[in-house]
Amino acid sequence: MPAVSVSGLTKRFGRVTAVDGVSLDVPSGGVFGLLGPNGSGKTTLLSMVSGFIRPTDGTVTLLGHNGPAGHEQGLHMVGALIERPIFWPYMSCRDNLRCLQGVYGADGGDAEIDDLLDTVNLGGEAARRKFRACSTGMKQRLGIAAALLGDPSLLILDEPTNGLDPVGIVEVRDLIRGLAADGRRTVILASHLLNEVEQVCDQVAVMRRGKLLYCGPVAGMGTSGSALVRTTDDGRADAALTDAGWEIRSRSEDGLEVAVTPGREWEISRDLAAAEIYVSGLRPLGGSLEAGFMEVTGDADGESE
């Protein structure tokens, strides 16, 4: 069962379509990245998943719950930090967490709050500081702590490293990886930073101008969806792979370019071995992850928002 499944999700603000018919499944467990340039619709999409924004069209299934009442039920197990950390400015960090703990019905008491404050490095004097007096980084940490209240099984973090110093960024990335390490929790990490997604996420969805452009393994984004295969007999290999249902995109002296889903290249090797053809070389085609992202988002020609 996917942790989140959205189907045909659309949001229009007047004439502007912020999210345009997005359908995707976020698998349970692990870190799922939502990547896209600023203004691509990531935050609007996550706001709809979190129930803050009503979709114009489409459905959201959250931890197996769908429909308006089901969505509210699903949200009981979701912690979210979307857009920016929002708290009551006149209360201390600790009181803000206490209040939300009470509202959420989380029963961890003071021990949970102490643990969370320590986890995000806001213990001691920082915990007593009024939210309005906190630095951007402290606010961001408090937002992460609030999202973790009640040990939710799905965490939605929208640009969680915004405003953090380099050390803080590393700590938060380690924290996110740790949160999803045991596989029982799913983390959705929205970011416009490619290297952040590359370092932390297993799967990624790429958005641009409200549309979903890619959804799959992070590594797959750096490939062109094809692999160059070199064999001892390219003629026989061509026939064998065509018989096995593979699409041969091009043939050259360098070998055969075969269309393949990123991460499934080994299946080509398997089918060639079955036909008793030896593979002398097999490599996914494409450049760096950055080049893949540019290709996916159409930024390769310098187009930008």
Binding site: G51, I86, V103
Partner: protein, 274 residues
């Protein structure tokens, strides 16, 4: 039952937040000071002047009622603006609703908190006035000082306090609606106070002009505005019984609160202004 329990829990944490706002204590302190001040002034005047002061003939609880009935709408508006507008302005509705609590539960909890605070204030003022009256009566400052010349006795004063409380709830609903529509404390409070002041100033002038120059009596129409209904339910309409205005006041409360719930339920929850 689960809904009621959730509302009570939410109400408790609404109070937790309000009680940590210095502004809330300033407002409550000023309101209390107004009532206490009025009673103190009355007591001082009674020491200095003969007993037939009109103020004495109304009794101390009615004096407190007069203060609260003038103060109540403002107090309702300010509290509603703090409790509703703050969460819209800061965007803190988002963390409150992040775990799927139905929006209507949150709104009911907020309305209930304002209603409870006002009720506690009104009851405290009534008790204070009664105690001051008793002391004044016992000490001989005002013979029979508590309920002088009050034909309906103490029950009437309770009714008066209840009507003043109801009127303040109507203005609470108005401010809650305006805060929700404007998504801001400043807009909600400003617009509600503006309506209150316009009602106080424009209706009498408009009525006078209509009477003198247009030969139209506006009083029939003004009587059923929020201002007119509020005055009527507190017994300030010379022609009609206060009871006639009760349903109209309840209609105002229902419309304001109903629209607040409707708008909150349907609109997107914004992330505030920072």
């Amino acid at each position: 039952m689960r809904d009621a329990s959730a509302i009570v829990t939410t109400l408790r944490w609404e109070w937790f937040r309000l009680s940590r706002r210095p502004g809330a204590w300033v407002i409550l302190g000023l309101s209390s000071a107004a009532v206490i001040g009025a009673l103190a002034v009355a007591t001082a005047l009674l020491h200095l002047t003969p007993i037939d002061l009109s103020i004495a003939s109304h009794g101390f609880p009615l004096l407190a009622f007069e203060v609260l009935s003038r103060l109540g709408p403002f107090l309702g508006i300010i509290l509603a603006a703090m409790i509703f507008g703050g969460d819209h302005g800061w965007g803190t509705l988002r963390p409150l609703l992040a775990r799927g609590q139905p929006r209507w539960q949150l709104m009911i909890a907020k309305l209930s908190l304002v209603a409870i605070i006002l009720a506690v204030l009104w009851i405290a003022a009534w008790i204070l006035a009664a105690v001051v009256g008793l002391v004044a009566g016992e000490s001989g400052t005002v013979p029979g000082g508590l309920f002088l010349d009050m034909p309906d006795g103490w029950l009437a004063t309770v009714g008066s306090f209840a009507s003043a409380w109801l009127v303040s709830i109507a203005y609470t609903g108005l401010a809650a609606l305006l805060c929700t529509l404007g998504r801001s404390t400043a807009f909600g409070m400003g617009a509600a106070v503006a309506i209150l002041i316009i009602e106080f100033t424009v209706y009498p002038v408009a009525g006078l002009i209509a009477d003198l120059f247009l030969d139209i009596s506006l009083s029939e129409y003004v009587r059923w505005t929020l201002h007119g209904t509020s005055g009527g339910v507190m017994g300030r309409d010379d022609d009609l019984s206060a009871w006639l205005f009760l349903p109209a006041t309840l209609v105002y409360i229902t419309v304001f609160c109903g629209l607040t719930l409707l708008v909150t339920g349907r609109w997107d929850v914004g992330s505030g202004n920072g």
